[in-house]
Amino acid sequence: MAQVYLPERTEEQNRPQRGPIPSTTRDTTRAQNTPPANPVPRQPGLADVAVIVALVGVVALIIAGAGRATAHSVDTVISLKPTILPLYAGYSLLRMTLAYILSLVFTLVYGHIAATNQRARTIMVSLLDILQSIPILSFLPGVVLALIAIFPHSSLGVELAAVILIFTSQAWNMTFSFYHSEVTLPLDLQEAATVYRLSPWRRFFRLEVPFAMIGLVWNSMMSWAGGWFFLMAAEQLTLGTRSFRLPGLGSYLQTAANAGNVAALILGLGTLVVLIILLDVLFWRPLVAWSDKFKFEQTKSSDAPESPILDLLRRSALLENFTMHVVQPLQERCNLLMDRLMPAPSETVTADGDAALPRRLTAGVIAGWAVTGLLVLVALVGVFNALKLLVQVPLPMWGQIILDGLLTFLRTVVTLAIGLAWTLPLGVKIGTNPKWARRLQPVVQVVASIPATALFPILLIGLLRLPAGIEFAAILLMLLGTQWYMLFNIIAGAMAIPTDLREAARIYHVSGWRRWKTLILPSVFPYLVTGLITASGGAWNASVVSEYVQFNNKTVMTHGLGALIAQSAANNDLHVLLASTLFMATIVVTINRLVWRRLYNLAERRFRLD
């Protein structure tokens, strides 16, 4: 759901600032990279125990998951016992992990091909642009029904559907980021790789992936948060009269809300928050700290991110021995094998369009054409079927779709306005005060990654009693899903205002509204636009879950394109689903092109502070 445009610069700025922990990074990086020729033996310690425990936990989780996949019926009864929560949390986590791995593999393969294959590039990039604009929940009915048909007697189909759904919410921005890194690879490093004859395989892992690493990690974090949002929706879904439930935190929260069990709701939510914090501390922060060495910079930055967990891992003797005696030899083998399979090209590849030699008909070229042909064929069949469905949509329905589109558009505008109204002053306040920024940023980050869909059942209990409660609820949910992007970016922007400019403003007594107009708004503007782009895309996507709600076995809905999509999906009304989905994708793409991209360009041109 997160949309990313030209992520490189903003990623850097978005990266959370960390508190001043006494610096030990230098030593630990040293320790990890002891040359194999002269290793320093280490004693096993507490760190190794932690590593082993973590390893056992992961293995247990996978086994439990695999056993469950075949054992359960499709509509699972969700227990509200508190003791079952860790298990449910494990299931949810497993789904997230599988989806993330899928996204990562997709990212590397797709991004690489799009960047290196000149002819495929245009198609692949625009396809990605469209895919990320399609409301994800529209995929759901089709995917679920198809997979249930494939695995009729187990919950595997629904499980896979959930994983694929999460994948579709995670993959696109990661792929964009990777693609962008690939096409901005510094020429001198590419030449070095060519001169020193790195095979394509080594080139990929020595040059391309490391160069993309920072963007990849940052986008992974965003994708992961987006994944939670849709996992909550995917674990419990109703298609017409059939309902599918998967044991997990999302379905637990839903069931608790339906039963009006406030204690269970709070407990479930607490578990989710704890899980998110744990992941942040144990996984994402170490990853961010580790990836700092991939930063493409010529001087060592002073405020490198740090993580005690990473330090622990780097000091672990067990892990070091494992790396040295198992991972590295394996890597070496693998590299040698891949070198033989894909040797470095011996012919000069000229990228400047100076085709000196006639194109030869190699196996690669033929395969390329075959794949292209196949894709075209698939696309044609798809378009034909889509047209067949679309002509069945009656004319008044189109009117309805356009009207609903307008309503949802208004709702997104209101959402963005409300979001802006409170995040702008607060974000600037936090960002211009380094002490607050350091303290609050991690907090904001964790709060932001709590999926709004998990909070929704709780909110609904209160809101639906009000008149026009669903209107409030819809906007509130969209707001919950999107405001954080704005807040993040505004804080980052305010932090980046150069001190000299702030001092100049103070010396020349620029204060009040003039201060905002001449100093703050122009400096924050590029960040603000980035935040708004993401928020706007997110709001459209969130409309699908927020305008149409199933609660207490009742369906509550308001008018809007999101509601139309959700309703037609629930009723298996495929042509309306297709028509409304396409319409929403069109609106999102149009708004991006007409509004956001222009604003972004303006921001790049006029308000860059460098």
């Binding site: 030449e191 060519t194 001169v195 020595r206 991939f294 070496e332 033989r340 085709a355």
Partner: protein, 467 residues
């Protein structure tokens, strides 16, 4: 090896006239194949060059002369549009396997340690085990004076140390050919001197197995103090203007008269791009020492190209030359301002274009206007600039006339750009306009609104000339 690399005052008598690398009639266009004719930019025009075993060759030239492109074509990294490169008689069609390259930007992988960076070159050699690889890398690190830094990351090192890693990575593969693309130009003066010295020591003592070194540089002094032969290139299009014999070893080190003379000659060659190279060399009485391309008088250019120089430096240069009595050695100016020829040449060109001075015989001589410029105050300067620009700068004159003629004294930049694009690439066209705008703004000839892309006459502009 050591014997080979010593005492090579004259290549014809050394035993190593074995041709290692040979380029024949290299022509290189940039721009797409579809857009034939005018749209293709000719970067290299008919380059032929032989590199012998045991030779250190420096390629010199102003920016835009295609030095780096030539280096990459010789190394097989870029394919020439036509012509052929041979290594030991074999045609080169891909990256030369006997080649190592040292980059101006170092091109180190920031996520790899020094050791890993050096090992990188060896990774592609499948018959080396991991321990052998490490051993050789450590040996190279030792040779180049990096011991102790094996586990540091490049970002922890100074520029000089980083380039040492670049050299270690190049030398560890034991290349027959060592190519260097402005290897010292990103370093400070002292560090560069130190590194140059060490490289020359390794090379002359035969401590590295390299058979030939090719260096692209824009530092004339560097080239003269290192190379056995100097290839001087010219621009628009890139071509070889002269190949000069380097100095005997004894003359290269110190600032001997021979050294100064050769530096001066190269300065003269490069700062007088339109003169016949043969005449210049003959005038410097270096007959027989150089193979010089006697070239036809350069054709008049279809459209005057402006060097991209900010106007402020022109004033400063005029004052500097006046202080020296109205005539100053270009090479002295370059050394004093710590400017290499790449930075200095555009300024000289602009100076000449505006009619403030002339480069002759390696000196810069002020004209009357140049003297007036150096002596007058800011307001008078502007009037002077206005006169000179209207008189000598084709693009500015053209815009000014069009603006005067236009009803509202405004015009769209796209008109001008379209015209310029008949002679320049789109990028270069907009850079030409930017430079013209910068010069005209200083002279208060016309104004420019970047947002709207409009050129216009300012109401308040003092009534000048051209009316």
């Amino acid at each position: 090896m050591a014997n080979v690399t010593k005492n090579r005052a004259n290549k014809r008598v050394t035993p190593t006239n074995e041709v290692l690398l040979e380029a024949e009639h290299i022509i290189k266009y940039y721009g797409s194949e579809q857009k034939k004719g005018e749209q293709r930019v000719l970067v290299l025009d008919d380059i032929s060059l032989q590199i012998h075993s045991g030779e250190f060759i420096a390629i010199l030239g102003p920016s835009g002369s295609g030095k780096s492109t030539l280096l990459r074509i010789l190394g097989g990294l870029i394919r020439a549009s036509s012509g052929m490169v041979r290594y030991r008689g074999q045609e080169v069609t891909g990256p030369n396997t006997n080649l190592a390259l040292v980059f101006q930007t170092f091109a180190l992988f920031p996520w790899l340690t020094v050791l890993q960076n050096v090992e990188l070159g060896l990774e592609a050699q499948p018959n080396l085990s991991r321990t052998q690889r490490t051993k050789r890398a450590l040996a190279a690190i030792d040779t180049i004076g990096l011991d102790g830094f094996e586990d540091a990351y490049p970002k922890e090192l100074s520029g000089g140390m980083r380039q040492r890693v670049g050299f270690a990575r190049a030398l560890v593969v034991e290349p027959k050919l060592l190519f260097m693309d402005e290897p010292f130009s990103a370093l400070d003066v002292l560090t560069a001197e130190n590194l140059r010295h060490e490289l020359m020591r390794l090379w002359r003592e035969g401590r590295i197995p390299t058979k030939a070194i090719l260096m692209v540089t824009h530092s004339i002094e560097e080239a003269v103090s290192m190379a056995d032969r100097l290839v001087v290139m010219g621009h628009d299009p890139g071509r070889i203007r002269a190949i000069l014999q380097g100095l005997p070893l004894a003359d290269r080190v110190a600032k001997t008269p021979a050294h100064e003379e050769l530096v001066d000659l190269v300065y003269t060659l490069i700062t007088q791009p339109d003169e016949d190279a043969a005449q210049i060399v003959a005038a410097a009485q270096q007959q027989g020492a150089a193979e010089v391309k006697s070239e036809p008088k350069a054709e008049p250019k279809p459209y005057q190209a402006l060097p991209h120089v900010k106007i402020g430096v022109i004033n400063g240069l005029a004052e500097r030359v006046l202080r020296a009595g109205g005539r100053e050695d270009l090479f002295v100016i370059g050394r004093e301002l710590q400017m290499e020829i790449d930075d200095l040449l555009p300024i000289i060109e602009a100076f000449e274009l505006l009619g403030f001075g002339e480069a002759t015989g390696g000196d810069l001589v002020l004209t009357d206007e140049g003297r007036r410029l150096a002596e007058s105050d800011e307001q008078a300067d502007k009037v002077l600039f206005r006169d000179q620009e209207c008189q000598h700068i084709q693009l500015i004159r053209q815009i000014k006339e069009a603006l005067d003629a236009a009803e509202n004294h405004e015009m769209d930049e796209t008109e001008i750009l379209e015209q310029l694009e008949e002679y320049f690439s789109p990028d270069e066209a907009s850079r030409q306009l930017d430079t013209a705008v910068d010069w005209a703004r200083y002279a208060e000839l016309f104004a420019y609104d970047d947002e709207a892309g409009l050129l216009y006459l300012e109401d308040a502009a003092p009534v000048g000339n051209g009316e």
